[in-house]
Amino acid sequence: MQFLRNIFDNIRPNFEKGGKLEKYYKGFEALETFAFTPGHVTHNGTHVRDAIDLKRTMFLVVIALVPSLLFGMWNTGHQHFLALGEMTGLADGLMDKFLFGALKVLPIVIVSYGVGLGIEFLFAIMKNHSVNEGYLVSGLLIPLVLPSEIPLWMVAVATAFAVLIGKEVFGGTGMNILNPALTARAFLFFAYPTKMSGNTVWISTAGESTVDGYTGETLLSQAYNADKGADFGGIAYDAAGNHFGSIADTMWASFWGWIPGSIGETSVFAILLGAALLIATGIGSWRIMLSFLVGGLVMSGIFNAFAVNSFMAVHPLQQILMGSFMFGMVFMATDPVSASQTEMGKWIYGFLAGFLGIMIRVFNPAYPEGIMMAILFMNVMAPLIDHYVIQANVKRRLKRVPVTA
């Protein structure tokens, strides 16, 4: 790699103090440090340092997202062909489905990274701070929480909004209050609701006519509409209007993920692969994931026990398997910057996010998903939770002081 090293060494003087491209130094630095971990050495303080850095950390999260991404590509194709009534078997046309999906999903990923990283570099150069690796993760999270039919320009606008208003105005990665990827999703959700919910956005029909009886509803929307005459809670419909044989079949399908939904959220299996990596490496907080799961199960258990409508009656296990519950739990709630930072705080934060997520999902009259809103709400509440956890520590310390009369 001496060749690449030489290139960097040759062009470096242009970017250093006094060079003609001096003001672009931070951009150059970002590229150089990406290619070569720099030969910076420690000064006084600790003379040796842990091998971990933010690049490695963020890259591992990206790897954890890959199963969801790949599955999402296949599922986009699968749902398309289901809607057309072609190759309806799971094993049929594997490559066709994957290629169709890849052509739908990759442009969204490219736009998200292009716009997001572009703004990151711009800000780094303008404000003379280093380009932070956090966007490597946000840039992949954004496509995975969007429907595959989203227009690309909306992806660009939402990404710009998330990076600018969600992050840079607070001072960049590490200072943001809200999870940037969820900010992007929330922005689209409120700005262009017709492209983010309903029955037509999840499945790419490419303008072709669908089979008879096809609705394109997600499982959540079926459960949500169950009150209004549709049938759920025992027997659900799949995308092509066929009955799943039983609730077990519904759960099976939502565990593996061959159901309509946002690109990356449908396969619980793929998400759990990512979760395993995050927990094994210690990068994702297992405390948040576990308490989030418990919170969701408790809330849906309560609903299930006191059900007055069929959405409330949905089995707790089915509740957590469908929609974005799992994706939110593993990849969104665990964002270390916007989550609680204390150990105790993480338990409370995770539990409440899962608990509120199911509550909003079931009781919200406007749309049938609440995880995004619950996590964003808990992002805002996280500093408050930490404050009280720390206050308890302060009180313990004060109690220790011997009382002098």
Binding site: T37, N44, S285, P336, N393
Partner: protein, 448 residues
């Protein structure tokens, strides 16, 4: 009541080149230096000029705010040079030894009261061996500490083994303990390692409260031990003395000679034959390392790799150092270093593979392994700081200079060395010890 305490948080950094338990005599140093910078926050007032003759134990400078608190020459000879830095700050006072090895004689016949002991220690230059918490600075002789803590083991990477160093120095150690116990109305705590039987020097020491600590580094740090036994509250003072320093104090009070000789470990992957050497405080590093270290771009550290001070080849041994560590510099950029498996690098996180090799000894260099970033990851500091303290929030309160918060979050209980592992583990490569030191300085100035 002595306590047995098990430390669960923390981590041992296993490095190549631990010192073999063999003592050798280091060659006589050709130059000595006493460095005011070793004593944090000290404003020195010189009493010697270049060319003056001094004996071992003769004052070189004293504390501007306490003229009785003297800092003395470790050796007899001539003041050869006074090195000054910016604003004429005194960096080093160099002394060329005359080889006569003559000592200033102190009258140690009367050690009955704390006043006498204090006077003798201050006059002889041994007082600075006693440090205080909070703030981790030289103890103020006017204070009356609620307890004195001695850690009998060093858990830091390549740390010196006091069981070995102080073997056979039972009398001197006991004399030191006796003197220290006069300085406090509270207890003198001697904290020994829980995993192994302590040397007779520690086992048979009288007049101490013996506690055992087991678990990973920083279990041997006196700050951690204080926190678990008798934590420092606002307005309180606790004094700490390093185990070997206790023996030095004892030796002085037995003989009346300010003898600054000590045993240090020369360790690290770049040392040919790591072992222990007897030398004298302030010796030039060359006398210890010459011919002992491997060729190449090395870093010489007076102290351990977590908290020590970098010194050049013609530098000097620090006043408090019990270890000289030599490790390779890491100035080579690494292609896609953040992506490579890097099985030769150590990480507390499981993002690298070192956790699969818990017994492997690593040859770590001084590379930062990354770049400075804002705080992103959480829980890393907490997992290596065995204290009931929120380290990240404490550091943030220091960054914002919020004194009330610093006080509430426990600034009185920590010293930079206690949070050295946090700095090691930090993904964002924060300079934790430096920030903490700034916070301690601010707190000392504003809160006293």
């Amino acid at each position: 009541m002595s306590k047995n305490i098990k430390i669960r948080k923390g981590a041992n950094i296993k490095l190549e080149g631990a010192a073999e338990r063999v003592k050798a005599e280091a060659p006589k140093a050709t130059s000595f230096a006493i460095k005011p910078t070793d004593f944090h926050g000290l404003t020195p007032k010189l009493v010697v000029k270049e060319g003056d003759s001094v004996k071992a134990g003769s004052p070189i400078f004293y504390d501007k705010y306490n003229e009785h608190l003297k800092f003395t020459s470790p050796v007899s000879g001539k003041v050869s040079e006074i090195v000054r830095g910016a604003k004429r700050k005194i960096l080093e006072v160099k002394i060329a030894p005359d080889g006569a090895n003559s000592f200033e004689q102190f009258d140690v016949s009367d050690l009955s009261s704390d006043v006498k002991v204090k006077e003798l220690l201050m006059a002889s230059g041994l007082w600075p061996l006693i440090k205080q918490r909070p703030y981790d600075v030289v103890a103020n002789p006017q204070d009356s500490p609620k307890a004195i803590f001695i850690s009998a083991f060093d858990s830091a990477p390549l740390g010196a083994d006091y069981d070995f160093i102080l073997h056979g120095q039972k009398e001197a150690f006991q004399a030191g303990v006796n003197a220290l116990s006069k300085l406090t109305k509270g207890k003198v705590h001697l904290n020994v390692r829980g995993e192994s039987a302590p040397d007779v020097t520690f086992k048979e020491a009288k007049g101490v409260e013996r506690n055992t600590f087991s678990g990973p580094h920083p279990a041997g740090n006196v700050g951690i031990q204080i926190h678990h036994i008798d934590p420092v509250n606002k307005g309180e003072r606790v004094w700490t003395v390093n185990a070997q320093s206790v023996a030095m104090i004892g030796r002085f009070l037995l003989t009346g000679k300010a003898d600054f000789s000590k045993t240090i470990a020369l360790a690290g992957s770049e040392v040919e034959k790591p072992k222990y050497y007897t030398t004298v405080v302030g010796s030039n590093i060359a006398s210890i390392i010459d011919g002992q270290i491997k060729a190449g771009d090395n870093r010489i550290i007076s102290g351990n790799v977590l908290t020590g001070t970098q010194v050049s080849k013609d530098g000097y041994l620090g006043f408090y150092a019990d270890v000289v560590s030599v490790i390779p510099e890491g100035r080579e950029p690494q292609f896609l270093g953040w992506l490579a498996p890097n099985t030769n690098k150590l990480s507390f996180s499981k993002a690298y593979f070192s956790w699969l090799m818990p017994n492997k000894k690593f040859n770590l260099n001084t590379n930062m392994n990354g770049e400075d970033r804002a705080f992103v990851m959480t829980g890393q500091y907490e997992s290596v700081l065995p204290m009931d303290i929120y380290p990240v929030h404490l550091i943030k309160s220091i960054m914002t200079k919020d004194l009330e918060k610093m006080e509430n979050l426990g600034i009185y209980e920590v010293a930079p060395e206690d949070m050295a592992l946090c700095e090691f583990a930090c993904t964002s490569k924060m300079e934790v010890q430096k920030i903490l030191r700034e916070g301690l300085d601010l707190a000392q100035e504003e809160l006293g």
